[in-house]
Symmetry: C2
Subunit: 408 residues, 2 copies
Amino acid sequence: MKKNILAAQSGGPSSAINATLAGIVELGLETAQVGQIFGAVHGIQGVLEDHIVEIGTKLAAPAALSLLAHTPGSALGSCRYRLKEIEQEQEYEKILQVCEKHEIDCFVYIGGNDSMDTVWKMSEYCKKKGSKLTVVGAPKTIDNDLWGTDHSPGYGSAAKYVASTFAEIGRDCNVYDVPAVTIVEVMGRDAGWLTAASALARQNGGSAPDLIYLCERPFSQAQLILDIKEVLKTKNTVVIAVSEGIKTVEGQYISAAGQNRSTDAFGHISISSGAANVLQEIVKSEIGCKVRSLEFSLMQRCAAHIASDTDLTESKWLGAAALNCALSGISGKMPVLHRISNEPYQCEIQYMDICDIANKVKEFPIEWINKNGNDVLQEFVTYAKPLIQGEVVLPWRNGIPLHWSISK
Amino acid sequence: MKKNILAAQSGGPSSAINATLAGIVELGLETAQVGQIFGAVHGIQGVLEDHIVEIGTKLAAPAALSLLAHTPGSALGSCRYRLKEIEQEQEYEKILQVCEKHEIDCFVYIGGNDSMDTVWKMSEYCKKKGSKLTVVGAPKTIDNDLWGTDHSPGYGSAAKYVASTFAEIGRDCNVYDVPAVTIVEVMGRDAGWLTAASALARQNGGSAPDLIYLCERPFSQAQLILDIKEVLKTKNTVVIAVSEGIKTVEGQYISAAGQNRSTDAFGHISISSGAANVLQEIVKSEIGCKVRSLEFSLMQRCAAHIASDTDLTESKWLGAAALNCALSGISGKMPVLHRISNEPYQCEIQYMDICDIANKVKEFPIEWINKNGNDVLQEFVTYAKPLIQGEVVLPWRNGIPLHWSISK
């Protein structure tokens, strides 16, 4: 008997989350054992609301699958919904009912830490109730903080955007012969992995960024000023990378937004300012030269036109691996990447128990930050460099990238 | 006798200004009449300071020229320096001395409105003094507000970035099933051309941006709230494009930064950031849903990896045309693009007297804005669409774009 499968996406979108979906659908279409391929719209919420659509037919053409893999955002829609504790059976029963209605045997949930909590609870519930439904997770997060995997799908593409854009900004900032400081804020409330990727911008001879501050080390405003003055001794332009989530030694966010109030950690009044914006004012008053701040904002997670081909390939691969696992009747697992070697770069897929992953965090190794706390070490560059390799060949139309849409 | 040539770059950098330099150098290398090819470091300031470097040899290999054409920023460095009035001869004499020292016959200055003022004054001075030096301008500005040309080199690449990024952001913003407003600020202090390019994001079926506000029309916060409420009646996500320089009907900048009234060397009011951030707070309190703001900041002018091939080709072409003009002994001109047809898109080069260009501004046609002041019309799309066509084939190395540097 054929097995019907269901895929859904959860958490913040990335440039690679649709490649994982494409990997699931592609394997599903190729596998004789698979019947219908469904997608839940807006993650587990879509399952709870029986918002289930058939996507196998829509994606049957290889061109459609390739288009999906290069589309940013979450093509099925996403949610930030946490299932109640397993003892409160109502939600779980509803999910089982919807899956039974559509005769679904395998459910693959693509997401980050919180989504793996959903996979864990759901697979436990199925076990408890003797349901034949297998529930498997597929990893995704640009933050790269998923436990158990060498790196997370989506991180490589975001890191390639960060590295390439720092290389370009370094050129832009270098044109005038006047002292100027540019502070760039990179996503990462609790994880500095993506900010660290700015160091990859220097590989072709550029100097930007001159200083890198991750949220893993306490941030000192006084030290920042000293560091900038030191750089200004030898060059005019200073480009700085800071994590969104940098905090003082007392654990207080630098950003006014992070503190949920209109004044920042240093008492300045500010309208929902990010860390870079707050630092801009401080550097302006302390150093007195031209200072500007900017944020990579949504672009770092949705600039699919500059995705890492390595990342998309692995993302697709992990989607297929998750489905394979579910088809073989094994529940409560997540495929992870295990690095075999750096040169040549090689990873293999392993399967981890979801209970060993859910709600855990992979910290940035503090020993990869330099002594002064204003840069990362070569160990990080060696780790991250393979992940941003390879450029995607995009379908362009009318001068802009073409994207896949479920409604077409 | 051979003619030595000097090129320099001025004003804000772009993704295409080095393509214009490549066009000058390429023609110089190919032309038997041309002797040495020099570059002034940091524009006219570099000439005044005799900071002149030989660049013909450095760029003799076709691969080097191609690399230069795809490098963002101003490879020779830039300045924002306004020459004194022509009656104050000291600066002009210094420039002539430096040019005589290096036996320079032709000077091509790449820049925007303000740089053309320099070309005008300098060519007038040479005429007055009977100097053989010919001074010619080559156009450049992402703002697209240079008088006399159908469009400005640099605009097409910036417009391609804006259109592509709105298409990607539209996907990202659409993933959650909750009402959310995203306000994106696009560069343009006085010209809405670049903000208007956001409309090109909709060509492949996307809806973003839902609302577009250019600085050419007085901006009403009350109308913005009504417009957003209208969009929210039919969909959850609202993506908005606003020009950096939007102002109230009384002429007051929306951006808090704009109200500081600090002026630059040319008397422009400096408004580095802020309109979208200010509007975020207003929309949050008036509508109450999730609201975020972001700026394309430096990326829109330096993301050379997503440059328009049409733009780079034309930029190179105009550099060569400017040199051609200077070599033929004609001074005080600027080559401009004259559009012959839209389908097929075809432009020819014409030469304009610099006195008809300098210090003038090409306004965004007010009749291309819709009646409600919250969108642009098809006339603009027809005009702008050809300018973003074509993707560049970049030299990538180590996962990031490779750039050319004068110091190597």
